[in-house]
Structures are given as structure tokens and as C-alpha cells.
């Protein structure tokens, strides 16, 4: 089961290692992790996407809550949040394939942000499953490099993870 945790932490040195350590020491892998400051500069948000069964997630939530600088932990409910990740893909691109690649990008509503004689760079900001689709579609042309962020996520509607 994949799950997404939204964690508010005090913005101080060492918090990230405390949190990532909780996962690694218990033998759990993190699929993605994103950190950024919130509207309050003293508080940062960490968004973690990981895999595990119900027991594991519950344990992690409880253990995370025990970390002193962690202010709040919320598991986002499947289907009730919006998530995005940003990816930059450098695709091998012979002149003959250029228009095909541009069409693919257009179809997926991705942007071409850079071009060189033998490659283009595509920028895409979407859910991780759409990002995967785009990667699959561009793979046949030859991917030179991928750079992507961790997933960030926010509740739909009125609900919010705040202090």
C-alpha cells in the first residue's frame, strides 16, 4: 500500500535526519521526500511517499509524532488530496523526430523548456502516475537524463494540515 504523509516540523537543524532515520533504521524505504518552508518561516513541511502495510504506517505515524520537533503528522486520504511532482526530462531528439516529440509533449500538456541540436528538455508538473506515463511515452526516443522532485500534496476542499 502506498501512502502519503504530510508532516509539519520546527524548522531546525537535524530534523530531516531524525525523520529519515526513523524509516531507514526500521528497514522501510522512502519512495519520495520533499521539504519546504510553510507560510510560517519557523515551520517546514515534509511530504513523504512510502510503501507499507497498515501496521507499518501506523507505527511510523506514532514514531514520527514522538520526534520532538515534529508538530503534526497526517496521513492523507487516498482520493482526497491533490499531489504534484516536477520533472525535467532530457530526451534524445534527432531533427526527424522533433515534431513527433513536440506533439507528445503537447498531448500530455508538458512544456519544452530547452532545445539543442540533438536533444530537447521537457518540463512536466503532474501527479506521479501521469509523470510515469510521460516517461514511458518518451522512452522510445532515448532518455538522456531525468531530474525530478519528490511529491508534494495538499488536501482537497477546506481541510488543511496546519498548526
Amino acid at each position: 500500500m502506498q501512502y502519503t504523509l504530510s508532516i509539519l516540523v520546527e524548522n531546525q537543524a537535524g530534523v530531516l535526519s531524525k525523520i529519515s532515520g526513523l524509516f531507514s533504521r526500521r528497514g522501510f524505504n522512502i519512495d519520495s521526500l520533499a521539504v519546504g518552508v510553510t507560510a510560517d518561516p519557523g515551520i517546514s513541511r515534509i511530504t513523504i511517499v512510502a510503501n507499507g502495510d497498515e501496521y507499518v504506517v501506523e507505527q511510523l505515524e506514532k514514531q514520527l509524532n514522538k520526534v520532538i520537533p515534529v508538530i503534526k503528522v497526517k496521513r492523507l486520504t487516498e482520493g482526497e488530496f491533490i499531489s504534484r511532482e516536477l520533472i525535467l526530462i532530457k530526451v534524445h531528439c534527432a531533427a526527424s523526430k522533433r515534431s513527433e516529440i513536440i506533439k507528445t509533449a503537447e498531448l500530455m500538456q508538458a512544456k519544452i523548456v530547452d532545445a539543442a541540436p540533438s536533444c530537447v528538455t521537457v518540463e512536466y508538473c503532474e501527479t506521479s502516475s501521469r509523470v510515469k506515463t510521460l516517461i514511458d511515452m518518451l522512452k522510445p526516443y532515448g532518455i538522456r537524463e531525468i531530474v525530478r522532485t519528490g511529491t508534494i500534496a495538499i488536501d482537497r476542499g477546506n481541510s488543511a494540515v496546519s498548526v
Binding site: 514522538k66 520532538i68 515534529v70 508538530i71
Partner: protein, 540 residues
């Protein structure tokens, strides 16, 4: 103007600290220079790990956080085992380490060690102080965190320049405000109602008590609850002492090294009330089996413990103190069904069996079971790790005193330094150590601390010339191949005692040993009694 080092001392004074345990070095010298003028007593141990164990023994017997101090680098790394031991046993402790100057951090200079990094999995929280101004807040928070919620060690790492810098004035904050730290202390009223209902509906309820009951200082209330309801009690190793051993409804320690009747009670109970225990694998080897047979009510201050090892139907998060009050109130004059009470009373008769005696040796289980009667009722027994620990756990007839040992980590060498801390916390009580010949040699350097402070600690060494418990494991699981479990080259412990100026004697029979013990408890000086035990005595 006031220096960081003076502030550190003032913070400790503000916390009411009377004794600290430590070992100096260059980067903590500014602090040591100031503690020299303070009324706080500094006890110089002989190795930093023992400063942490002493702080632990002090904390457990005084109910207040213990404090240990070390220098940077090797001093700090030596503390780690002691800190980790305190962490697994949830002992309130504040560990203070010196650190290299702030501008040298990260350059791998002389005696720099990333101690907060190294201790991360073993501390409740840690700080590196980077401004002298922060010291009062950090100390205030550290003591608060260590001694509230689920207790545990907090580490404060203080670079030398932070200790040297001066600021305008010292103000100790009255309040703490840590947004991410608000432990739940009051039990949920609805859960309490559900729990009481479950108890009233059960035929064979049982209480499993852990160290949490002792840590929350709720022992008298707890005993009242058990007495009034007649619910039988078993305990984990850390919970020994919550009930007097001879209480009619107390069935001893559970687990792989515990009492058969305790395990039997756990198996046959239809409702188990777990109080402040994590139920690790040594306590309940097959936790899934346990929850198949019975309904579980789990009371703990730490929500993360609930459902971790044992499936729980009724969780109650809160401080045992509050929860006990609520339970006593809610349960009224309910008493356990007569049939179950009678069953427990018959089992109770099997609790202490008399083991066979081997000529020319002290039978230690028998000696330990007679020990309590030779001591005053509030005596503190500190057991080390190994067979000696199991013998003590299962045979000491505790009355109003304490049984100290390391249940979570099982750290050899714990007993002697922990006894030092216990004696400072409770100078008028009998403090007795029981340790193995292996574990004695892990901290016998602390005989100097005992001798130097004339601490009337009585040490009973069980000499079997081997690492008994591991050897037993080899006998059972490794074809009796005794790899590295024979203690060759051991010194004459009596001569060691002599060298430290400590009174001593040796016993080869129970009569002899008891004779010596009766004499040694009367003296106000330390004493070492070496008991030769039959080497093949089993743990249980």
C-alpha cells in the same frame, strides 16, 4: 556578565540537582571550573559509561532526572552505551557533553565526535547549543522532556566557546513551549469505562505490570487497585517491585526466563491489563498467541507502544497516575470471581521452589530468596546481567524496596555504577549488588568511586568462572561448544577488594554466606562477598 559555564551550573541548580556523575576533559573544562565552586556534588567515576549508569540508578531511586557529564570525542562516545541503556529502560536523564569550538565543528579536529548524530537512535531528544543565550532555554526544555511523558535521556552537546562566552544576565525560563511536545497524560474517559466493563465481564482477568508503573510513581495506588479488586498481578523484569513478592495475588515475572506460573496465568487469563510495559520478545515470545487467547487492555503513556507488540482491544493512553485514579473510581467495589482467586492462590504455592544444593558451593537462588529478610524492608537490590540477574529476578523476595536491573538493553557492568547512583539518591537504605564474575569485571574500576566516597554498597559476586548465561545458550543450542565463555586469567577478587581497601570475604556454602551477609549489612562501609557457585546451575 555571566559565562556559559556559569549558566550551565545555575541551570542545574535551578533544576534542584544535588549530585552529578562525570569525567572531565579539555572541552568541558570551563564547566568543571565552575562546578568546582558550586554546592552541587560532582562524583568522579572511572569511565564515562558508568557516569550514565550511575545517573540512571540515581534517577530510578530519586524519581528525578539523573545527570551525567563527559568531555567531547572519546568521553562522549564512552557515554553511548549508558545512554542507550537508559533509553530502552525509559530512565529520565540529562547527559551533558563538551564539544570542540563552534568554528571547528565538522573539521575533524582533535576529539571531535558527532555525538548528537551517534546518539540519535538512543535519545529522546538532543541539542547542539550554538548560542550562549540559548543555554537556559535548552536546559529547561531538556529537563522537561527527560522527566515527562515517556521518560528518557536527553543529550546536550555544548561547544567550548559557548561555555566560555559571556552574556548580560541569567534568567531561567519559567515555562517551556515546545509545539511538538504535548504528551497525553489523562486517560480517555470512554476508554476507562470500556476497560472497567471488560474487567467486570471477564472471568479470569490478569494485570501485567511493567517499569512504567514504577516510573510514574504510582506504586501505592497500583497496589490499592490490585488489593481491592483481587486481580492477580505478574510483572516484567522492569516491573519487579510493583508488588511485594509474597503478596497472595502476585505470581512473579513472566517471560522466557520468568516463572512458570506467571506464564501459565498469562496463558489462561481471558483478559490482560498491560500497565506500562512494552512486552518485548523476552517477556512474551509469541505475542500473537497471547492476543488470540485474551482481550488486551493496554495502558501506556507512549501511544507508540500500544499495538506495537501485542494486539490491543482497549488502548488507554495516559500517565499511570491519572489512569489508576480513574480506574479505582470507576471500578467501585468489584472483585475478581472467587474461582480465579483460588486458582491463583494454588499457583502461588508453586512460586518459590527450593533448588538442590551442591556441596562446597553457595546455592544462589536460595541465598537470594533469603537475602531480603536479612536486609531492611526498603532495601535496593541491583542485579547485573546474566544468570545472576535471572536468579535475582526470580528469587528476591522484594518488600518495600526496589529491584534495579537493565531489562531493555541487558548491559553487563550496569550493577555497580547503578548502585553508586542509587546510594547517592537513598543514602540511608541498604544497597546490595549481585553480579556475575564476568559483569563484575566490566565495571570493577568503579570500586574506586565506592571506596573514594565511602559508599556502604555491598557487592555479592557470583563466581562460576564463566559467562554463565551464554554458556548455557551454547549448551542448549550449539552442541556444548564453549566458544569464548570460559573466564581464564581472572584475578583473585578478594585481593582486588583488598587493593581498594574494601572489606571482603568468600563463601562456599549458604550457611557461610548468610553468616557473612548478616555481619556485612551492619557495617557502614562497602563490602565484597565472593560466592562460589556450582558452575552448571541452570538459569531457571
Amino acid at each position: 556578565m555571566i559565562s556559559g559555564a556559569e549558566i550551565m551550573v545555575k541551570c542545574l541548580e535551578a533544576e534542584g540537582i544535588k549530585v552529578i556523575f562525570g569525567y572531565p576533559g579539555a572541552t568541558i573544562c570551563p564547566f568543571y571550573d565552575k562546578i568546582y565552586d558550586s554546592d552541587i556534588k560532582h562524583i568522579l567515576v572511572r569511565q564515562e559509561q558508568n557516569a550514565a549508569h550511575a545517573a540512571s540508578g540515581y534517577a530510578r531511586c530519586s524519581g528525578k532526572p539523573g545527570v551525567c557529564v563527559a568531555t567531547s570525542g572519546p568521553g562522549a562516545t564512552n557515554l553511548i552505551t549508558g545512554i542507550a541503556t537508559a533509553y530502552t529502560d525509559s530512565i529520565p536523564m540529562v547527559a551533558i557533553t563538551g564539544q570542540v569550538k563552534s568554528d571547528l565543528l565538522g573539521r575533524d579536529v582533535f576529539q571531535e565526535a558527532d555525538i548528537t548524530g551517534a546518539c540519535e537512535p538512543f535519545v529522546k531528544h538532543s541539542y547542539i547549543v550554538n548560542k550562549t543565550e540559548d543555554l537556559p532555554r535548552v536546559f529547561r526544555e531538556a529537563f522537561h522532556i527527560a522527566s515527562t511523558g515517556r521518560k528518557g535521556p536527553v543529550l546536550i552537546d555544548i561547544p567550548m566557546d559557548i561555555q566560555e562566552n559571556e552574556i548580560e544576565e541569567f534568567v531561567y525560563p519559567e515555562k517551556v513551549n515546545i509545539p511538538g511536545y504535548k504528551p497525553t497524560t489523562k486517560g480517555h474517559a470512554i476508554q476507562i469505562k470500556r476497560a472497567v466493563e471488560a474487567i467486570k465481564n471477564s472471568k479470569r482477568p490478569l494485570i501485567v505490570s511493567g517499569g512504567g508503573v514504577l516510573l510514574s510513581g504510582v506504586k501505592p495506588k497500583f497496589q490499592k487497585f490490585a488489593d481491592n479488586t483481587k486481580i492477580p498481578v505478574i510483572s516484567t523484569m522492569m516491573g519487579i517491585g510493583v508488588m511485594p513478592s509474597d503478596h497472595e495475588m502476585y505470581l512473579g515475572m513472566l517471560g522466557t526466563h520468568g516463572k512458570r506460573v506467571a506464564n501459565r496465568a498469562l496463558y489462561e487469563a481471558d483478559l490482560v491489563i498491560v500497565c506500562g510495559a512494552r512486552l518485548g520478545d523476552r517477556a512474551v515470545a509469541a505475542p500473537h498467541q497471547m492476543s488470540e487467547n485474551n482481550t488486551v487492555i493496554h495502558i501506556d503513556i507512549d501511544p507508540a507502544e500500544i499495538g506495537k507488540n501485542v494486539k490491543t482491544e482497549i488502548p488507554i493512553v495516559g500517565d499511570m497516575k491519572n489512569v489508576m485514579n480513574m480506574l479505582i473510581e470507576e471500578i467501585g467495589d468489584y472483585q475478581v470471581p472467587k474461582l480465579w482467586q483460588d486458582t491463583v492462590k494454588t499457583w502461588k504455592k508453586e512460586l518459590f521452589r527450593i533448588p538442590p544444593v551442591f556441596d562446597g558451593f553457595v546455592e544462589l537462588r536460595t541465598l537470594v530468596s533469603h537475602l531480603s529478610a536479612m536486609l531492611r524492608s526498603k532495601a535496593i537490590l541491583v542485579a547485573d546481567v546474566g544468570q545472576n540477574q535471572i536468579w535475582c529476578a526470580n528469587n528476591f523476595r522484594i518488600r518495600e524496596g526496589r529491584f534495579l536491573t537493565t531489562g531493555g538493553m541487558g548491559t553487563m557492568g550496569y550493577s555497580i555504577p547503578a548502585a553508586v547512583g542509587a546510594k547517592f539518591a537513598r543514602p540511608t537504605r541498604d544497597v546490595v549488588v549481585v553480579c556475575g564474575d564476568g559483569s563484575f569485571q566490566m565495571s570493577m574500576n568503579e570500586l574506586a568511586t565506592i571506596s573514594g566516597n565511602n559508599l556502604a554498597i555491598k557487592i555479592i559476586i557470583m563466581r562460576n568462572h564463566r559467562l554463565g548465561m551464554v554458556r548455557e545458550l551454547q549448551d542448549n543450542n550449539y552442541n556444548k561448544r564453549h566458544s569464548a565463555t570460559v573466564l581464564q586469567g581472572d584475578p583473585d577478587f578478594l585481593k582486588i577488594a583488598e587493593a581498594y581497601g574494601i572489606d571482603h570475604a568468600e563463601a562456599n556454602s549458604n550457611e557461610e554466606a548468610e553468616e557473612i551477609i548478616k555481619k556485612m549489612v551492619k557495617s557502614d562501609k562497602p563490602f565484597i562477598l565472593v560466592c562460589n557457585v556450582y558452575p552448571d546451575t541452570p538459569s531457571i
